[in-house]
């Protein structure tokens, strides 16, 4: 079974997460970030997934629902949304990632699994967790952590694993200034449940702990000489925790031969909200090198951009190297370059949106509630 950590706020995504948990942020024109992890679970044959939510959970909770979109509507197991709750001894907010799992020990015990997979709901990747499990069993590991090679100059942004020749982790550094390795943790942990349970209980008693997997649990397990192995993943993996990386991940989708292919019949990405009429492309439209979702109306020029559902782009508008999130109305003669337009934004005719500095990405949002009448008027 899997526990998916989806409670994070994602402050570095700015206005994209002002009223929305990071995993629920729309991605790729059609999806939400959490779809990728849930689709991985589905394709890996994991049929019990606890989704831990806390920050702005309403949309996320109703979105995951009973997990129907990912075939997780099961008689036994299936998807369960797990926000913090109150028991007979009171209740507490989730203090950290480890505490969130700790507070749901009874949920996991109910299924009495041999292994528990801990996932974070904010990465874009396709991974067959069965291969990780196979590796875990072959190595006789107690913990396996999925790692990926990152460029040396970026290694300082990640949790870095130093391994011996057999793949056993000998050292773990969280965001090191001088990294000794370029193997970054992907935020995918496979634990023997009995061992993890023991450490979670122990960690909870330690008042000095921040109750975090990366900062507390893993270093403590390493110190106690548990068998922790690194499973090296080779494939596309992207942390979309910053505006820049969120934008880059979208631009990656637009490559001729994208490293991350959405159109993969063997590994479909499933999503909850998908009933929109086809896209209307007007006689004056011009679209090059772009991804466009259903439910959009294009009258303008789109170049190297991702356009989500229920987006209207007016005449003579020009959109380049940009990401337009759902429910956005763009008037006529608008220019948008190198930008992310947040959901539910209206951009009036004639406006120009571009980064303030070269090579930057502009995140543009106008956090107003959009009345339905407004949309119809513009349409």
């Amino acid at each position: 079974m899997a526990m998916l950590l989806a409670g994070g706020q994602g402050t570095r995504l700015g206005d994209l997460t002002s009223q929305l948990a990071k995993p629920a942020v729309p991605f790729g024109g059609k999806y939400r970030i959490i779809d990728f992890s849930l689709s991985n679970c589905m394709h890996s044959g994991i049929d019990t997934v606890g989704v831990l939510t806390q920050y702005e959970p309403h949309i996320l909770n109703s979105y995951v629902g009973n997990g129907r979109a990912w075939d997780l509507d099961r008689n036994y197991g299936g998807a369960a949304v797990l926000p913090p709750y109150v028991g007979k001894d009171g209740g507490k907010w989730y203090k950290g990632t480890a505490n969130a799992v700790y507070q749901n020990i009874h949920y996991i015990d109910h299924y009495n699994p041999e292994f528990v997979l801990i996932l974070s709901g904010d990465h874009i990747y396709k991974m067959d967790y069965r291969k990780l499990l196979k590796y875990h069993i072959e190595k006789g590991a107690q913990v396996s952590i999925a790692v990926i090679e990152v460029p040396w100059q970026e290694a300082g942004r990640f949790g870095i694993m130093v391994t011996n020749s057999e793949g056993k982790i000998v050292e773990f550094e969280e965001k090191p200034q001088f990294p000794k390795s370029n193997l970054a943790s992907m935020g995918v942990y496979l634990f023997n449940w009995k061992l993890l349970r023991q450490y979670l209980v122990q960690d909870e008693k330690n008042s000095g702990s921040s109750n975090d997997f990366g900062k507390d649990i893993i270093p403590k397990m390493l110190k106690d000489k548990n068998k922790i192995y690194a499973y090296q993943f080779s494939g596309y993996w992207k942390d979309v925790g910053t505006v820049q990386s969120f934008w880059e991940a979208h631009m990656d989708l637009l490559e001729d031969e994208p490293a991350f292919e959405l159109d993969d019949p063997d590994w479909r990405i499933f999503t909850g909200d998908a009933n929109h009429p086809p896209q209307y492309i007007a006689p004056e439209a011009n679209i090059k090198n772009s991804l466009i979702n259903e439910g959009s109306w294009i009258y303008g020029n789109i170049c190297h951009s991702v356009i989500s559902h229920i987006v209207y782009v007016g005449k003579n508008s020009f959109i380049k190297d940009s990401v337009i999130m759902p429910n956005v109305t763009i008037g006529n003669n608008v220019t948008i370059e190198h930008a992310i337009i947040a959901s539910n934004t209206i951009i009036e005719s004639g406006k120009k949106i571009a980064p303030l500095k070269a090579n930057e990405v502009r995140l543009y949002s106008c956090p107003q509630t959009m009345e339905e009448t407004d949309i119809k008027e513009v349409l």
Partner: protein, 369 residues
């Protein structure tokens, strides 16, 4: 609200769109980029909060079964009511008309908790306000309400519509079967509202008399016996009666007002979800005035066309005034003009297929050109 059962009657479908109904029934002919005809009637029912729907199939039921599944896309996966698919019980040869089909499943009608039944065909591209229809039926205290529409479609060659004669008070005086209506004539939309008890009586009597056709033998024959009212459907609808009217109905969706009228205003049209990714437009793509579903990969030129889910249009290919259905591939430098390509057609490199608006060229399912 009264407990209503929706019946979609696929037993005596019109023999139209032959090339598109070789492997499927008329109700499951693809339409409008990602829909099938039957989605319209289902969505109309759901919008009127009808939560039990029975689909009577004849043959070629597989595509309908596959499309409807558990009915979850229409919120019809219910404990109470939900979707029922009722295939023929007797041998096809024995299945003479819809009276037989209904009779064979009379136990289903007995068991359902509904008091009122609405019967509709499965192939009409129509946004019928079913809630208003049911209210009309109740208010007029009719025994039977028949839905009609003043004909506003293209000229018809083949007489396969039925017309109603309506008096000033909205009573139906007579039904003329197999006519070719002119503009303004009152066309019977073969959509009826009646109490379940009356429906069951009619079926029983007709069956015992060896009669076969619900409209002719149960309704027309009793037109003076019962209080039959006419409901004028003034909402959006496109009459489809031939391959060129099918082509024209699809092309009508290239008008933004029509798109809004059918897919955005009042209520949505639900269909089976395919989880295709957004459509990818390549560097050389030139797409104008088109209605395009997801999961397509477009490298070529597309003009005035309806493109269904998962279609590939390669470099140099030109698709004009055409309807290209699911998973069809148009290879490099091929040309389609005024063509209706069914699902999974392969048009190989440099092939040119040209029809005319009045005689669109139809490529059959899985055909390789």
């Amino acid at each position: 609200m009264t407990n209503v059962l929706g019946v979609i009657n696929l037993i005596n479908e019109k023999p139209i769109l032959k090339e598109l109904t070789l492997h499927r029934c008329l109700a499951s002919v693809p339409f409008g980029g990602r829909y099938r005809f039957i989605d319209f009637v289902l969505s109309n029912f759901i919008h009127a909060e009808i939560s039990q729907v029975a689909v009577f199939t004849k043959d070629n039921g597989r595509s309908v079964l596959d499309h409807l599944g558990s009915g979850k896309e229409w919120d019809l996966d219910r404990h109470n009511g939900g979707l029922f698919i009722l295939p023929p019980v007797s041998d096809d040869a024995k299945l003479r008309g819809d009276i037989q089909g209904f009779y064979d499943h009379r136990e289903f009608f007995e068991r359902t908790s509904a008091d009122l039944v609405i019967i509709s065909p499965g192939h009409q591209v129509s946004k019928l306000d079913v809630a208003a229809l049911l209210e009309f039926h109740e208010k007029t205290q009719a025994d039977i309400t028949i839905v009609y529409r003043e004909y506003d479609g293209d000229p018809i060659q083949k007489p396969n519509y039925h017309q109603v004669t309506v008096d000033k008070k909205g009573n139906i005086l007579d039904i003329d079967m197999f006519t070719a209506p002119q503009k303004g004539d009152c066309v019977c939309l073969e959509t009826y509202v009646l109490p379940k008890s009356l429906l069951m009586d009619l079926i029983q009597t007709c069956y015992e008399n060896g009669e076969v056709d619900f409209l002719k033998d149960a309704i027309k024959a009793n037109v003076h016996k019962y209080n039959i009212k006419a409901f004028n459907h003034k909402g959006n609808m496109i009459f489809i009666h031939s391959m060129n009217s099918f082509h024209a109905a699809n092309m009508a969706l290239l008008n933004p007002d029509t798109i809004r009228a059918f897919f955005y205003e009042d209520w949505e049209v639900y269909t089976k979800i395919k989880h295709e990714p957004p459509t990818k437009y390549g560097q050389a793509a030139r797409v104008t005035n088109s209605f395009i579903a997801n999961g397509c990969d477009i490298e070529g030129t597309v003009e005035n066309s309806i493109i269904f889910r998962g279609v590939k249009i390669k470099k140099g290919a030109v698709v004009k005034n055409s309807i290209v259905m699911q998973k069809t591939e148009v290879e490099d430098d091929a040309v389609l003009e005024n063509v209706i390509a069914d699902k999974q057609v392969a048009v190989t490199q440099h092939k040119v297929v040209v029809g005319t608006p009045s005689h669109p060229k139809v490529l059959r399912k899985k055909e390789i050109i």
